[in-house]
């Protein structure tokens, strides 16, 4: 969703920079004012930034354009490598599939037209923006523009001219073979054997310009001016390119793959979510399947993780604030509950290594908690050994449960329940909160920081999601 925005902005900038004065004229149309449809290209590109795969007929209707005119424009953009098109023969059924996909994207601008053509095969064309290619094309275009101007400015591809200062004879680099001297490193005039000088050097040396030189100088000025103007006027575009450079490029994939994906996403997220998508993506249609964006939401997670860390520096605030759970405490939670163990496989494995950390960590803790901690450790290790045996058996079942859980809770729209991890963390945190006594805190102390920060993060966000784990009681007793 948000990942589309920088790229859409890029498209809009590029459209205005390069395509706003392009006219899409049929060969037979006269060049009258009425036929002047400059700017239409920009409108079409803008419209495409708000859509994904779209049937060209529908797009034409939405833009109130003649479909032929639109097709000409799209063909142009296809040649410009901005747009991908797909044509397919389809019956009414195929149309329905697409319409369903469109409906799933909740793009209100798509008129859902029932195919009245029954079983007749019609060729329909679809198009969408090819962001990856647009990125490359725009960069290449800028590169070529700059290179061309710079090359001319440096007279890079020009043939060097030489002049004899004595007799004024001119030579070009093509004469080089005849001008070479065996005695020194310079070229020599064939007439007077004077040492030749390169013309540009001469230009710099004295200003005795004949008309030719003046023309060249003026041209240089013009080129410099153009280059400067280009830098200025295309600056927003270049900035946007730089901004977009390291972002993952959104891709729709082929039409079929896209339809399949949209269907799947719609099924998973349910209707309410679908509408959420549309809201967040401002009606640009389907905002992507949930999965690709998991990584993104992690950003928020990292942030809250940092918060946790900060607050963790003063662990004695434990009493009141549920949300202020230091990272290591959360870790602990993960280890404690059987259920969580089952689901978080790698945490299980890291149990062993975490012992060491456990022992170090308490040193950092307050002195008065030491005793409690020692007791706690004893109990903890004993319980852990027992638990590890149990967990082997239970883990598989739990993992399955986790899968179900994940599926049912993969609600992206509120950004809280990102993955089962977070969920579990949340449960734990709640539990810890409930007990809310010293023992609990020591519990929190150990079990190394094996988890990634994002697990820590959501702990804050969802304390209510607790209560599933009866296992904890052991621990409190310990």
């Amino acid at each position: 969703m948000s990942s589309f925005e920088p790229f859409n902005r890029l498209v809009r900038l590029a459209a205005r920079a390069f395509y706003d004065d392009i006219t899409m004229k049929g060969d037979n149309q006269p060049k009258t004012g009425r036929g002047d449809n400059r700017g239409m290209t920009v409108v079409v590109l803008d419209a495409l930034t708000r859509r994904q795969w779209v049937r060209e007929e529908d797009l034409a209707k939405a833009l109130k354009l003649h479909s032929k005119q639109l097709r000409r424009t799209l063909r142009f953009f296809e040649e410009e490598k901005l747009v991908t098109r797909e044509h397919r023969k389809e019956t009414a059924k195929g149309v329905k599939i697409y319409n369903a996909a469109v409906a799933a994207t909740a793009d209100g601008q798509q008129p859902v037209k029932e195919g009245d053509e029954k079983n007749k095969m019609h060729t329909h064309s679809y198009c969408c923006l090819d962001y990856a290619q647009i990125h490359d094309v725009v960069r290449y275009r800028l590169h070529r523009m700059k290179k061309k101007l710079k090359d001319e400015l440096d007279s890079r591809n020009t043939i060097q001219q030489y002049i004899c200062p004595n007799c004024g004879r001119r030579y070009s680099a093509f004469d080089a073979l005849q001008l070479v001297s065996m005695t020194d490193e310079y070229f020599h005039c064939e007439g007077c054997n004077g040492e030749l000088i390169a013309e540009s050097d001469k230009l710099a040396a004295d200003e005795m310009g004949d008309g030719d030189d003046n023309a060249r100088r003026r041209r240089r000025e013009k080129l410099k001016d153009m280059l400067q103007k280009m830098e200025e006027q295309l600056k927003p575009l270049m900035l946007q390119l730089a901004r977009v450079k390291d972002l993952a490029v959104p891709e729709f994939g082929g039409l079929l793959a896209w339809e399949a994906r949209v269907h799947a996403a719609a099924r998973v997220t349910g209707d309410s979510n679908a509408s959420d998508f549309s809201k967040s993506s401002q009606g640009q249609g389907y905002g992507g399947t949930p999965m690709p964006f998991l990584g993104e939401t992690r950003v928020e997670v990292a942030l809250s993780g940092m918060d946790v860390k900060e607050e963790g520096t003063e662990p004695d605030t434990k009493s009141a604030n549920v949300k202020v759970l230091p990272p290591w405490m959360i870790k602990k939670g993960m280890v404690l509950t059987k259920e969580q163990r089952g689901e978080v496989k790698h945490d299980m494995k890291s149990d062993q290594s975490s012992y060491a950390i456990d022992e170090k960590k308490p040193g950092v803790e307050k002195e008065d908690e030491k005793n409690l901690q020692d007791e706690y450790f004893k109990a903890y290790y004993a319980a852990l050994a027992k638990r590890q045996e149990e967990q082997e058996a239970t883990s598989r079942r739990l993992r399955e449960e986790a899968e179900k859980y994940k599926a049912s809770t993969s609600d992206l729209s509120n950004g809280i329940f990102e993955a089962p991890y977070d969920r579990q963390v949340g449960m734990k945190s709640k539990r810890a909160d409930d007990e809310n006594d010293d023992v609990d805190w020591e519990e929190a102390v150990p079990t190394g920081n094996t988890g990634e920060t994002f697990k820590l993060a959501d702990l804050n966000a969802q304390p209510e999601a607790s209560g599933d784990d009866e296992d904890d009681i052991d621990w409190e007793e310990g």
């Binding site: 680099a173 093509f174 490193e185 310079y186």
Partner: protein, 177 residues
């Protein structure tokens, strides 16, 4: 760029070659006459690959020489503007350096050598970067771009540049020794 083309030529053969090996003589003479030459139109004839057809000879009045129209296939080489070539440096001086790509002579003037390369007139004159990592001297192999060709009736001379992406030294004879 290389081309495989069919050319025609009228060969004059001395009467002393008339006999059972006339055809062989003709082909041998063709090779001797044509291979290694340059025509402004087709470029350098690198090699004759086959003789397609030898027409009827025409005896010239007065001399007894016979003229045969000969059709032959050959490989020709012609540099083009914009073409990338690999060439061996033959001479370096303050004005630039000369290089050869097969039969083609190429001159790269010093303003088409990257600005960070400076001329050094040591015992072997060369162009060297300030850090000494890249050096162009006699027998260096360079990749260059043709920016212009002058085609005479018998000669093709080219101007090249190494002031562009991916051009320049591709091996350094000094480093190997």
């Amino acid at each position: 760029m290389f081309f495989h083309i069919t050319l025609e030529r009228n060969m004059q053969l001395h009467p002393r070659h008339f006999g059972p090996h006339l055809r062989d003589k003709l082909v041998a003479k063709l090779m001797k006459d044509v291979e290694g030459t340059c025509s402004g139109r087709h470029g350098f004839v690198v090699a004759i690959t086959s003789v397609e057809d030898i027409g009827k000879g025409l005896i010239r009045e007065g001399t007894g020489f016979v003229t045969f129209p000969v059709k032959y296939q050959c490989v020709v080489f012609r540099p083009f503007k914009g073409e990338i070539l690999e060439a061996v440096v033959t001479m370096v001086n303050k004005m630039g350096f000369f290089a050869e790509a097969g039969p083609v002579q190429i001159f790269v003037s010093n303003h088409l050598i990257p600005d960070d390369m400076e001329f050094q007139s040591e015992d072997v004159s060369n162009y060297t970067t300030s850090d000494g990592s890249v050096k162009i001297q006699k027998d260096s192999e360079v990749r260059l771009k043709i920016i212009g060709t002058r085609v005479d009736a018998t000669e093709i001379f080219s101007i090249g540049t190494i002031k562009d992406d991916f051009l320049g030294v591709i091996n350094d004879p000094g480093a190997a020794s």
